[in-house]
Each structure stands twice: as structure tokens, then as C-alpha cells.
Symmetry: C2
Subunit: 539 residues, 2 copies
């Protein structure tokens, strides 16, 4: 039996994450200048004097000053005796001074990291001077009111006024949450000078008010791959009027800025050794590579992995089963629910656990079918479909039996097979096998709930040592936050963007053969999953 107490929250993995999130604030977005006040023999203009003062730290005099700031500059410099703190942001071409503040005053310029998810949005407030995190806030993407998924929203955006409405919803939602987060941290949104936003391609487009209709139609064309650094005021963001917003670039319609930020955060693009990064979800996005090359691909894995198919499946929340251990001899299902509430459903990671445990206990066979003998009285037949009771009515929050059907399991198996096939295809493209990887980054919030041992047991993830798995958590937010610590991250992102090759997944015969082979538990080729076979035979 596999050990369920895997090391996702151990001190060691935490340390690694902290280490990856470099806080090089000394070379950050804030510079201090102490200028010599003008005299007759040196009557350089105030702006040019400031630029000269910044030149040493920035290594260039290609520095412009926001017009709004220019209007205040002569007063502020004289008031502060020509000593000031400057917020300097790097544009594609050069530097821009967007903020001036009195160096010794407690009020410091802030940055905001945003993970713009289709369902959830997370904002994190950070000091641009010290790198300290002031606070974090998560909220539902207000566009959910229009439609739960990307497709529904894009279709809505095509109607008259639709795009503007979607755009306003997310901008207003962000502004409200920025205001409340700032308030709760005792800060002023006017102190925010840089927003670093990472989201999938469509969410980023809707945020910018760009038409997304061509993203979802062949040949799947975004309006832009590199939105870059925009004026926050042009987008209606209620932060400092001179503030800028950096939008993490995408690779294409199905590989967005959230993934790009995840790569940055993982550091895989700086490592000698080849690693893989996987964001598991309805869409599986995968990057393989090292400091010399990067290959990316994205493919549909189906909604089962996110708990979106089964009748009892649901999003994470109180009473949702997220961990399952089965003691087959005693016919005991040891279930863990969020908030330790009475069970009312199961989330995607719980379903993976469940399937793994059912397989390891013999209740599911190698084809993923219920084994009536092993299942015993739990297996009931409703309208000809076998259902396995997971929680009897008297123990559930709903007062009804909670069960999974054979169809639910079939759907999960298709999803896990798609996932594994994508991993096989991308590794094969460089002549590797998934099992040869030594580092496996699990990106995204959903992925961080998956127990890799369970995922291996059902053949969804390759049979690597558990040490190989490195769960990044909300890697989109972390990557966005990392940008706030140091401008060199911009170059790193460009570097990643320039080197990445996008592998178009052709669903051809070879892909289908791999997919068919992966539709068994754990796989038709048991040699690919020696640990699973070992566990099974050791029972």
C-alpha cells in the first residue's frame, strides 16, 4: 500500500520554493538618487539631472519621465533637496520613471501580483522596496456571471457590448478587491505602481478588452502574444495614475501567461538537467526542457481531473472529499473531507485518490471496471449502470448515498490516459521516456492537491521517485510576484518566450495508439510502472 503521507508540505519542499522565489530587491524597481542641486555652472534641467542620477544604477540614460510626474518634479526635487526615491519601470525599449517618493518616509511604493484565473482571481500586495508581502486576497472571477468557462465568455463577447461588459466586470472586480486588500493592509491603492498579471490567453485578452473570437476558432489566433507593459490608467485600473501593468506573454491561444509565469517561478529554464512542468486540469499544459531548450504543448484532458464530470464531483470546499484510503479487508473507506465536515461530494484530487485506492484494493480491475467480488455490497446496479457507494446515506451531508458510477471511472480513465499520452508525446519528441525524468514540477493550484502517489497508481503521472515531484502551488501567482522583485525577470521572461518551441499535438494514429495503451490501470505496459506492480504484488 502506498504511503499517503507524501511530502508536499514538508519543510524541505517549502525551502526549495522559497529559494526559487528570489527577492533581489537591491536591484529592484526602486532606486534612490541623491543629486547635486543645480548651480549656474551646472544648469542641467531637473528631469535630465534625475536621469543622469539614475544612469549609474540603470546602466543607461534611455530613461523617460511620465508627463504627470514631470509636472510635479521641480517642486518635489526642491522640497526634498534633490534626494528622492524613484520607481523605475522597464518598458520594451527603456526605462520610465513612474513614481517619486521621499526616501525616508514610511509610505513605500507597492507592487501587485495578479493570478487571473478563469474561475478564481488572486491578488497579492508586495512592497517594491523590501519585497515583503503585505497581504493576499482571492475572489471569484466576476465574469463567471456571464459564463463558467472560456467558450461561453468568448461567445458572449461577440454580441454587441459583450466584450466591453466582460472587460468592465474583471476591471471593476479587480479594482474593488485592490481597494479592499489595500485597506486591510493599511495601504493606499495610489501607492501601487506596478501590477504583474498572469492569466491564460483568453482571460488576458478580455482583461485588455481585446477581441478573443479568433482564439477559439481554427487556426486559433490571439490578437497579441506579448502585450508587454501598459499604462494601468489606459485599462481603467484604479492604482497610481502613472502606474503600469505588465501582462505575462503567451505562447499561443492555449498556452498562456499563467504558464509562462509558472516556468519563470520553477526556474526550469535555468537548470542544466531536463525537467518537466505540468499544469493539470481540463486542459493539460506541459513544458519540457532545460536552460538550453524548452518545448511546450497543451491538450484537452477532459473535465474529469477537475471533478467536473462525476455526479458527486464538485469544486473544493467544506465537506468535499479530498483524500481517500481504503482498507479492503475491513471494507473501510477512510475519507478525509475539507473542514472535516460531513461528506457531500468529491473533488478531482479526491477522485484520483479514490480510483487509485480502488485499483490497489482490487475493486477496480486493470481495465478500470468494477470487480463485483471485491466491491461486494457497495456495488449497486441502477438502470443497468454499476454504481459504487462511497458514502452511505446515513453518513453523508446530503442524506443520500454518494456514489461513483462506472461511467465516472471511465471518464477519469480517459482523462488520465490523455494526460499520460501528452507526457509521452512531448518526451518522445526529444527521444525520452516519461519515466526518465528526474524533476517533475506540478504547476497550478489544482495540481497541488493531487497526491502524486495516487496519480502514479492509476498511470496518470509517470512512475518517478516521489522525490522527483515538486509541487509549485499557485505558480502563476508566484511567477507574477517574482517579477515584482527584480526587473531582470523581464529579460528572463523574454528569454523563455524566445526559446520556447510550441509542439502542436496532432491527434494522429500514433497518438491514438498511445492513448489506447494508456487507458489501462496503470498501463498496458506494466514495466512502465514498476512501483505500482510492486505495491500490488506485495499486498
Amino acid at each position: 500500500m502506498v504511503d499517503l503521507g507524501t511530502s508536499w508540505d514538508t519543510e524541505e519542499s517549502q525551502k526549495m520554493i522559497t529559494h526559487q522565489n528570489k527577492h533581489i530587491i537591491a536591484d529592484g524597481w526602486v532606486k534612490r538618487v541623491a543629486l547635486t542641486p543645480p548651480v549656474l555652472s551646472d544648469n542641467t534641467a531637473d528631469a535630465d539631472r534625475l536621469v543622469q542620477g539614475l544612469k549609474k544604477g540603470l546602466g543607461t540614460d534611455k530613461v523617460t519621465i511620465d508627463l504627470r510626474l514631470l509636472k510635479k518634479l521641480p517642486f518635489l526635487l526642491r522640497q526634498w533637496n534633490y534626494c528622492a526615491g524613484c520607481v523605475v519601470l522597464k518598458d520594451r525599449g527603456g526605462w520610465k520613471v513612474v513614481g517619486l517618493f521621499e526616501w525616508d518616509q514610511p509610505e513605500q511604493p507597492l507592487g501587485l501580483a495578479v493570478d487571473l484565473g478563469t474561475s478564481r482571481v488572486v491578488v497579492r500586495l508586495v512592497s517594491l522596496v523590501s519585497g515583503a508581502v503585505l497581504g493576499e486576497h482571492a475572489f471569484d472571477n466576476p465574469q463567471i456571471a456571464i459564463g463558467p468557462d472560456i467558450l461561453a465568455r468568448v461567445h458572449f463577447s461577440e454580441a454587441a457590448g459583450g466584450l466591453e461588459k466582460l472587460h468592465r466586470l474583471i476591471i471593476d472586480g479587480l479594482n474593488q478587491n485592490i481597494a479592499s486588500l489595500s485597506r486591510s493592509c493599511g495601504a493606499d491603492p495610489e501607492s501601487i505602481y506596478l501590477v504583474s498579471l498572469a492569466g491564460n490567453t483568453t482571460m488576458t485578452h478580455l482583461f485588455m478588452g481585446l477581441d478573443s473570437r479568433w482564439i477559439i476558432r481554427e487556426p486559433y489566433i490571439p490578437v497579441t502574444n506579448r502585450p508587454g507593459m501598459l499604462r494601468a490608467s489606459d485599462l481603467g485600473m484604479a492604482i497610481n495614475p502613472c502606474g503600469r501593468i505588465y501582462l505575462h506573454p503567451n505562447i499561443g491561444s492555449y498556452f498562456g501567461g499563467d504558464l509562462m509565469a509558472g516556468i519563470l517561478y520553477s526556474g526550469m529554464h535555468t537548470r542544466e538537467e531536463t525537467a518537466i512542468l505540468v499544469d493539470v486540469g481540463t486542459n493539460a499544459e506541459v513544458v519540457l526542457g532545460n536552460k538550453n531548450w524548452l518545448i511546450a504543448c497543451a491538450g484537452a484532458a477532459g473535465p474529469a481531473l477537475e471533478g467536473g464530470v462525476t455526479r458527486m464531483g464538485m469544486m473544493a470546499g467544506p465537506g468535499v472529499i479530498d483524500k481517500v484510503v481504503i482498507h479492503p479487508r475491513e471494507d473501510v473507506f477512510d475519507l478525509h473531507t475539507m473542514g472535516d465536515a460531513k461528506p457531500k461530494g468529491i473533488c478531482g484530487s479526491g477522485l484520483i485518490d479514490l480510483a487509485a485506492q480502488l485499483f490497489l484494493s482490487g475493486m477496480l480491475d486493470i481495465r478500470g471496471k468494477f470487480n463485483p467480488k471485491a466491491c461486494g455490497a457497495r456495488l449497486i446496479n441502477t438502470d443497468g449502470i454499476p454504481n459504487l457507494v462511497i458514502v452511505p446515506a446515513d453518513q453523508s451531508a446530503t442524506g443520500q448515498d454518494l456514489f461513483v458510477s462506472q461511467a465516472d471511472i471511465d471518464s477519469l480513465i480517459r482523462s488520465k490516459a490523455a494526460m499520460y499520452t501528452i507526457l509521452e508525446t512531448i518526451t518522445a519528441s526529444v527521444g525520452m521516456l516519461p519515466g526518465e525524468l528526474s524533476t517533475f514540477f506540478v504547476a497550478g493550484t489544482f495540481g497541488s492537491f493531487i497526491d502524486p502517489a495516487s496519480a502514479i497508481s492509476i498511470g496518470m503521472l509517470p512512475d518517478l521517485s516521489l522525490d522527483a515531484f515538486n509541487v509549485l502551488g499557485n505558480s502563476s501567482l508566484e511567477g507574477a510576484a517574482q517579477l515584482l522583485t527584480c526587473p531582470t525577470n523581464l529579460d528572463e521572461i523574454d528569454h523563455i518566450r524566445d526559446r520556447i518551441t510550441y509542439l502542436e499535438l496532432n491527434v494522429n494514429q500514433e497518438f491514438m495508439n498511445r492513448f489506447s495503451a494508456a487507458k489501462f490501470l496503470p498501463h498496458t505496459d506494466p514495466n512502465l510502472f514498476p512501483s505500482v506492480i510492486f505495491n500490488n504484488s506485495n499486498k
Copy 2:
């Protein structure tokens, strides 16, 4: 007697000016792209596809697209089958696409050159595609309602709301005149994508809404020397919403963008041979140099040169005397007035002519005092001050005698002496004498009315061959217009700006000695003006 019919309007000098005004439209601000439409195997985003298409012509992919344009981009590219004309503007850091148009359509993107003078403003509309001039329009600077000169306006700007009012006056005045000029050319202000504006440092500051109080006070500090390329909409300019405005840089408070544009237009910064460029006026601004070095200085010459002191002095206009020939034997003053109207006053260039003719005819002596014998009945004494009647009452438009007083002449002589001293000082700084120059560019509108022969006769300009003088006309406007023809002008301007050394004119003993020596007609050292002595002795 010197020949008054100097060659300012000959075909040859015209040719030279046209030659200087390079129209390198092939490498202009407008590029045509013909892109391959996207397919599954090449699903680059629209914006990135456009940038790739522009890369060849621009030599870089550091190109961003204005957000407003980005919103329309996918529709326009598909409508035009991925062929488009692009207006691409260069910022300090990189290129920006600010306009998209259908290549084969007659409506073309336009540029606007502006000479922003303290008194007059001139706007010129130019095709950014062909370089053709569509039309030109001049109007009084509306800030005159606040005050006639820089000082009055800066003082006004310091009161509450003063700066904003001055800013609005010039912006509104420009917008009205842009609208009427466009209308008269059958064009739409929305077609204007680039404004190139050259003005003195204070006018440029007030145009931008920047505080100018430190410009007029020791140590004379502008807010900015290099305003660069700004969004026209940020300044309230009613042109294309994506349009940009380039503000020609200044060297300091007293050497503005108008002069910088003049240097560009003269081409002196590209010549092997050392030349001088002089903008004659109340302030004399001078640049000396060649392709290797440039020295600039500015000094007060007094208002006499612009007709601002004498009782009969006035700005150019109908009835104003602008040319004078004296036939001393017949006691005939052969006067030319603007519009051939009855004389009512004299402008600065007329006064220089008059003084030269009075000196050459012996009516003024070497000290600049009226010679009663030669002046005869024209010299009358009013309240102890000698006055010379130029136009008797029965011939004047006012019905009164038009005369110049000894005080008027004294004032002119101080001004011309200051002018010559400035020229002597700047040439001496590189070990030259003013008489050693072989090319003398006369910049600015006022200068173009001065007869260099007359100016030499009174010792205001050095005694060079008349061929050496090259009258540039409104060199500020021409330089501003030149920028509209080719982006490389931006680099040229930066190059000029970087190489120029500003020579602070210290009014020390040496300066005062030179000034005293220059207060004679033409000079205490007659060897400096051999042609004048020759003319005088030949009479």
C-alpha cells in the same frame, strides 16, 4: 555704395535650401507590410505577425502597438487580407505602431510641423507618405493676450490657475488652427499621426503645462531638456487619438528647440568646414561648429534689433519701412514699405538698413552720432534731443513726422555691439576670428529680413563675402518639418544634442572691452571691416 539687391531670393540659394530639406520618404515614418495570413502551422498572434512583418524594414522587433489600435487590429488585418500601411513612430526606446491604413486608399497619414514662437505660431501640414506639403498657416500665439513676452507669461503662470490657462490657450489655439488648416486642405485632423514641434524652452514648457518659474531665475533651470515623444492626447491635442508629438529638445533655458531644429535644418552638424548659425533677435542665439564639435551660446542683444525700442519701431506689417536707400547728394531717402503702403513706422531690419545708409552717407559718424552738417534740415532738436526726420508729415500714413532719435540710434548700436561681441566671444573660444568664417547661417524669420550688407556696414555681422551668408528663413519650422520626412532625424537631433557644448557668456572685463570696441561704426578696429572702409572711401 553697397548693392542692396542682395541674393537672398536668387534661384541658387533656393536650391540650396531645398537640397538641405531632405525628403527621404522611402525610409519615412510609414511602412507597408504584406503578411502571410495565419494557418494552423503558423498561428502567431496578429500583433506579433505585424511586428515580424515590420522587423525587416525597421531592423528590430522592439515594436509595440498602441492599445487603441490593438483593439481594431484583428478586424482590419482580416478586412485587408493582411496587407496594410503602418505609421510607425520611434520613441527613445523603440518603435510604436500608431496608425494603420489601407495602403491603396487615397487618404494618407499626415504629419504636422509647428514653429511655436513667442509671438507667431506657424503650422504646416505634410503627407507622411509622399512628403508633399499640403498647406501652411500662421497665427498669433494666443498667449499674447496674457503678456507679450516670456517674462510676463512666466510671472502670470505662477499665480493660481495661471499655468493651466496659458497651457489651454496655446493648445486650444493650435487645435483651432489645425482644424482650419486641415479643412482648407481637404484633410481630417484625425489623419495627423505625428506632430513635430519646435519652440523656445519656455514656450515648449508652457505647451506641455510644465512650470517655467525656474527658467527665468538663477541658476535658470528648465524642468526638462529632452521632452521627447509624447502622446498627443495627453496634451489635449485634437489629432489622431494614437498620435504622438515630438518636442525638439533644448540645450538650456535660453537655447531652445527652435534653435535645435534650425541646426538640423542647416546641416552644419554634418559639414567638414566650421560654420556659424545665428538667430538674431532680442536674444541672440549662436552656434558654431562642424561635424566634429558644436558650441552654442545665447546672450541679450536688446530689443532694438527687432524694432522694439524706437518710437517709430514696430513689427512687420503694411506700411512698415523694411528697406532704405539714401542718395545723399540729392538728400533723397528711398524707402520701401511693406505692401507699398504709406509709411507709418520702421521694423528692425529697416532700422539696420537705415543706420547703415546713414553711416555710409556720412549722416552718422563713427561714434554713431548724427552729423549736423550732413543731416541738414532733417535734423531737428526736440527737448534737447536730436531727432532725424525720416518721413515728413505730408508723406507719412500718420500725418506726423516719422523720425529716429539719437537715443534710438544709441540703442541700436548697443544691440549691434552686443551681437558682434557675442560672435567674437564664441569664435575666440575656439581661437578663430568672426571674419575667418566661410559660412554664416542666418536662422529665424526675423533674420531673413536683415540685409547682411547693411548689417556688415554697421559692424553687427562680420565682414564676410556676401556669398558666405545663407539665410535659412523660418529654420525652426523647416527643421520641425524635416523631422517628419525621416526617423533618422531623431538620431541626428540626439547626436547634435549630445555633442553640443553650451558656453556660458560671462559678462567679464574681457567681454566689456570687446563690447566697448564694438560700439563704433563699424568698429574701433577698421581692419575688421575692410569692405565697409572700402565702400566709404570710394564714395
